[in-house]
């Protein structure tokens, strides 16, 4: 039952985190006006109660809490590095967008994600072809959005300085 002890510790931690969140919400809502405080208090109290129930469930019940509620877990496993790389690229993309501009960040990020997601043993020529295809897609949508749909996609502050 070693594994289940570890699991128990995790669940207790989770319950404490939820309770902490609820208390933080209650604390924060103390400075709201009367009208704005009603709902956060309801939610804060609910979170504390749910945390207590979660704690009871993890101590008393076994196995009740396992199993993913939605079909999210199918791809669990696989390479953590690829996932981490993807997340890093996404974050850089979103945070550098206004400075470096839409076309440049999108092109680099697209190729980066393409490389991360490429199946093992894929011929580099295929990858190159895909990268070119991706750049065409980016160009197409840039034109579509900025010209036809009036979406002012950022050009990049960096280029204005040069």
């Amino acid at each position: 039952m070693q594994a289940s002890r570890k699991e128990l510790a995790q669940r207790v931690l989770l319950a404490l985190a939820v309770a902490g969140l609820g208390l933080a919400v209650l604390h924060e809502s103390a400075r709201f006006s009367a009208l704005a405080a009603v709902f956060p208090r309801v939610v804060g109290v609910s979170l504390v109660i749910l945390a207590a129930l979660l704690l009871m469930q993890s101590i008393l019940g076994k196995g009740l809490a396992s199993g993913h509620s939605e079909s999210m877990g199918h791809f669990a496993g696989g390479s953590r590095f690829r996932s981490a790389g993807f997340v890093v690229v996404l974050l850089c993309w979103a945070f550098l967008l206004p400075t470096v501009g839409f076309i440049v960040t999108s092109s680099i990020a697209f190729v980066g994600i393409l490389l991360i997601a490429t199946e093992r043993g894929t011929d580099w020529r295929i990858t190159a072809k895909r990268a070119v295809l991706g750049l065409i897609v980016i160009g197409f949508f840039y034109g579509l959005f900025s010209m036809l749909l009036n979406v002012p996609l950022p050009r990049g502050r960096l280029w204005a300085l040069l």
Binding site: E70, T118, F145
Partner: protein, 501 residues
């Protein structure tokens, strides 16, 4: 027979052309996550200034109808609801895609949308004034109870662990409170940064919470594709029609729910499909199939979804109160053309009003061929793309789409941050749907609750306000039924086990 004259007026070559082009454009725009019906309309409004008012309304109504349906493509094929009204479409649509039934799901969504759109349109044509009166009977308290009814879906979709579902729901409610409060005007949970004053943008949250976790998992597995089943090569028309005929009661009921809930100004659009989904699930003999690719779930949400178009126009045309945000854009466009809208539209401009309603019905019928063709096209693109190309393309669509909602870079950042947060949460066993339900229904619940207190307090009868009104009591009954049903169901199943032992 005057009505037939209006029908003839709608059936000119020009109007038919506008309806067809409108549906195609709307579907194409709606299929891109982040491009909403409201935006499609706002962009295309200037093109209608040169048209006659009735034709302009037909074109705009067709774009609206198409855009709502187009949202089903991204919901079904890449688990990305482009609008709040499409979230329930992902519940069963995406699992169907996973099983290799994406083509069937898209066609089924098309037929269901046409059915729902026709129901909404016909009810608008025939019963608009009484339905508008009924919609007005819903006050703040009823909105509160309806939001709670929507929240009961949490317990239904998280059968594995209801507690975690409820916690997820509370997190969604918290996210919905970020920013300037409608009630009281306080800045809540903004941590002192002006970037959060606008709150969590709903659509970027939808894109982030639903789509990004799928992409993160997909990247990790370099060998496997999005679909586990075999890819279908043709449009399974016969099977689609059979499933639609078998589900006719469901389609009718969901369409009626969609029309009525869609007629509630302000709140209707995003809740209608949720209410329809929870109703079909509750009344099903096999509720455990839902969320795992049940065609009935998809039919219910898409039928209700499209029925909100007709439903939303009920208060718009009868009362002069826009039922949904796209209705407001259409109203403003017609105003700019110099046509006074509001209750007078039906009496003094009956020609425009009725020609428009017929135009809407014609556009809905056009959606059948257009939807099948475009849907097959969309399916083929997603199914044919190698995974290495699919992931960056979808990520790109997420980024450009969440920027385009409000032309705001913060929405992109919010999308990415919530996406990573959603992925971490799913590792802990928290699905995205409870969070999203909290986020969508939170404002409606909060406003209804506080407004109910204020109005009840002013009359000195808060309890009577919440529990003493007939419509409220009906909704409370539905809530109790929805909550009790899983318990009853579980007991009866246990009973079966006992019998077999």
């Amino acid at each position: 027979m005057e009505i037939l004259a209006y029908l003839a007026a709608a059936l000119t070559f020009e109007n038919l052309l506008y309806a067809l082009v409108g549906v195609v454009l709307g579907t194409a725009i709606g299929a891109l996550p982040g491009l909403t019906a409201t935006m499609a309309l706002a962009v295309l409004v200037p093109f209608t200034f040169t048209m006659a008012p009735a034709s302009a309304m037909i074109a705009l109504g067709a774009i609206y109808t198409g855009a709502l349906y187009g949202g089903a493509y991204s919901a079904i094929l890449i688990n990305t609801p482009g609008t709040p009204s499409a979230i329930a479409t992902t519940f069963d649509g995406f699992p169907l895609t996973r099983k290799g039934e994406g083509s069937f799901a898209v066609s089924l969504a098309c037929v269901s949308s046409v059915a729902g759109g026709l129901i909404g349109g016909l009810l608008l044509l025939m019963l608009a004034p009484p339905l508008a009166t009924l919609a007005l009977a819903f006050g703040p308290v009823e909105y509160f109870w309806i939001a709670l009814l929507g929240l009961t879906l949490i317990s239904a979709i998280s059968e594995g662990n209801v507690l975690k579902g409820l916690i997820g729901g509370c997190i969604g409610l918290l996210l919905s409170m970020v920013g300037a409060a409608v009630m009281g005007g306080d800045l809540r949970f903004t941590f002192g940064t002006p970037h959060l004053v606008g709150g969590v943008e709903m659509i970027s949250a939808l894109i982030g919470l639903y789509c990004i976790p799928i992409l993160i998992d997909l990247v990790a597995e370099p060998e496997r594709g999005l679909f586990t089943g075999k890819r279908t090569t043709h449009v399974p028309l016969r099977r689609t029609l059979k499933a639609s005929w078998d589900g006719k009661v469901n389609l009718l009921r969901s369409g009626a729910i969609g029309t009525l809930v869609g007629a509630l100004p302000g709140a209707g659009g995003s809740i209608a499909s949720l209410v329809a989904y929870s109703e079909v699930r509750r009344s099903s003999r096999q509720p455990e199939k839902f969320g795992k690719g049940a065609p009935e779930g998809l039919q219910a949400t898409e039928s209700a979804n499209s029925a909100t178009v007709g439903g939303g126009f009920i208060p718009t045309l009868v009362l002069g109160i826009p039922g949904t945000p796209p209705d407001a854009v259409i109203l403003a466009a017609v105003m700019v053309q110099g046509v006074r809208t509001g209750p007078e539209l039906f009496s003094s401009h009956a020609d425009i009003a009725y020609t428009f309603i017929f135009g809407l019905l014609i556009a809905t019928i056009f959606m059948f061929p257009v939807g099948l063709v475009l849907g097959r096209w969309a399916y083929n693109i997603v199914a044919d793309l190698p995974k290495a190309l699919l992931v960056p393309t979808v990520a790109f669509m997420c980024v450009i789409g969440s920027f385009a909602i409000h032309n705001n870079i913060n929405d992109v950042r919010m999308m990415v941050v919530l996406g990573v947060f959603g992925w971490l949460m799913s590792r802990l066993g928290f699905g995205p749907s409870p969070i999203v339900l909290g986020l969508i229904l939170g404002p409606i619940a909060e406003q209804g609750l506080v407004q109910g207190f204020l109005i009840g307090g002013a009359s000195g009868n808060v309890l009577g306000m919440f529990f003493g009104r007939p419509i409220s009591l009906v909704i409370i009954l539905l809530i109790l039924l929805a909550l009790a049903y899983p318990l009853l169901f579980r007991r009866s199943r246990r009973g079966n086990y006992d019998a077999s032992e």
